[in-house]
Assembly symmetry: C2
Homo-oligomer: 254 residues x 2
């Protein structure tokens, strides 16, 4: 029996998120179905990040155990041949049997993209949130800087989360403008429910001038969701990568 | 009666190209239908570029004549409220009644995008052509330089074209690599049927080393489609902009 780690990219547009649920198609369900057929044994993957409906991924992580003799690094090719075109395995490799993608220290990097134009651009409509009011990116960066470091992000967590511990560390949060596309990447040791989308919504409010950058400091201190900005739409969000330092030091990894 | 010029952006994925045809949905047909309803008079637009099935646009141009009292610059807003989300009017303005978008000197700019990675990226699958073999962009640029200037592009024209004159001028053809995305913009005074996609297919062959950059010179001289590279897929192609110098000098334009 071997434990295999998959790096999974997907276009979230046509899925009800990652996690299996009745009466709705999810990424997890499609992976389980195709892996079970490919390997001819019942497979249930364990996902690292249960992304929401409509959120995209370039590097989500899933693991599963298998008796297959297919070399671990070939599973990506075999699986991609079966998967729909909106899910693509970027890498497959063996990991230690005890490796769990949600219970192992990691850093996650998300990207949020905003199209800042007079009119939306059709080819971007599913991959960037459209904001027509001009965004002041330097003010947004100023606000973002308050979020970097270890903080209690209770204000930046949607109701309905079962997580009790709301302290997280953001390593970096960098905004940039490339023409009409404003985006940020945020890397941290974990994110609360909807945290990146609430950060995005809050930074957009700063960018259009609804409130000054310093307000973000007060929001953090309030530890109250209602003090924060709105949750920005799912389409702008992409899970870019998940890194496991422990695994990178492991002899399993090349 | 006033002549209105629209700048039209669309995601070509779900359309059988621009031009009206029986039993298939096209961008032109949707514009005619929604303009006719909006203005309450029969509207038939004249398009500048009849893009193929699956080709995208940021700045195609269409004109139509109307009796409406809606101010020309407001038509974009009113029309966008009715159009599906994969077609968006970027601008509307009045032009001289004699202006014809296909019979007026212009420069057109196209972009072709290639995702050059080990595995495709799901969110790019509809907006970039995927090539897994590593591309040598400097060799592609060397090949592209043979195409810049006035040439007979007969070799770069698909069969089925009714155009007799095959001399065109390319003003610039610039390649770049940004991470895993290789793209080029090409601006010219006109393009033959499938010309940009054949240029893309040919440059990709140079980029993967199928033949040296100099071969492109021979291809031009051959004036024979079969000497050229393959036609690259529609999804990688976007009509970026059409510029009319005559119109830019006109008092109608701001």
């Amino acid at each position: 029996m071997r434990r295999i780690k998959l790096t999974v990219a997907y276009d979230g547009t046509n899925y009800f998120g990652w996690q299996k649920q009745p009466n709705a198609i999810t990424v997890e369900e499609v992976l389980n179905r195709e892996l079970t057929k490919l390997l001819n044994e019942p497979i249930e993957v364990i996902g690292a990040s249960r992304t929401d409906s409509g959120v995209h991924a370039m590097g989500n992580v899933a693991v599963f155990d298998t008796e297959t003799r297919i070399p671990p690094e070939k599973i990506s090719y075999a699986l991609n041949a079966r998967l729909p075109k909106d899910i693509v395995i970027q890498d497959s490799c063996e990991v230690p049997g005890a490796f769990h993608p949600r219970h192992t220290d990691c850093s996650k990097t998300y990207e949020y993209r905003i199209l800042n134009t007079r009119f939306p651009l059709p080819t971007m409509r599913l991959y960037a949130h459209y904001v027509y009011r001009p965004l002041d990116v330097s003010k947004m960066q100023e606000a973002a800087n308050y979020l970097v470091g270890e903080h209690d992000f209770a204000s930046f967590c949607s109701a309905g989360s079962q997580v009790k511990e709301t302290v997280r560390t953001i390593y970096r949060l960098d905004l940039k403008r490339e023409g009409e596309l404003v985006s940020f990447q945020v890397e941290g040791n974990g994110f609360l429910y909807n945290m990146v989308r609430i950060i995005a919504g809050t930074l957009i409010e700063v960018g259009i001038g609804s409130y000054p950058p310093e307000r973000v400091k007060e929001m953090l201190e309030a530890k109250d969701r209602v003090k924060c900005g709105p949750k920005a739409p799912a389409c702008g969000l992409t899970l870019v990568a998940i890194r496991y330092p422990e695994l990178e030091a492991s002899p399993y990894q090349k």
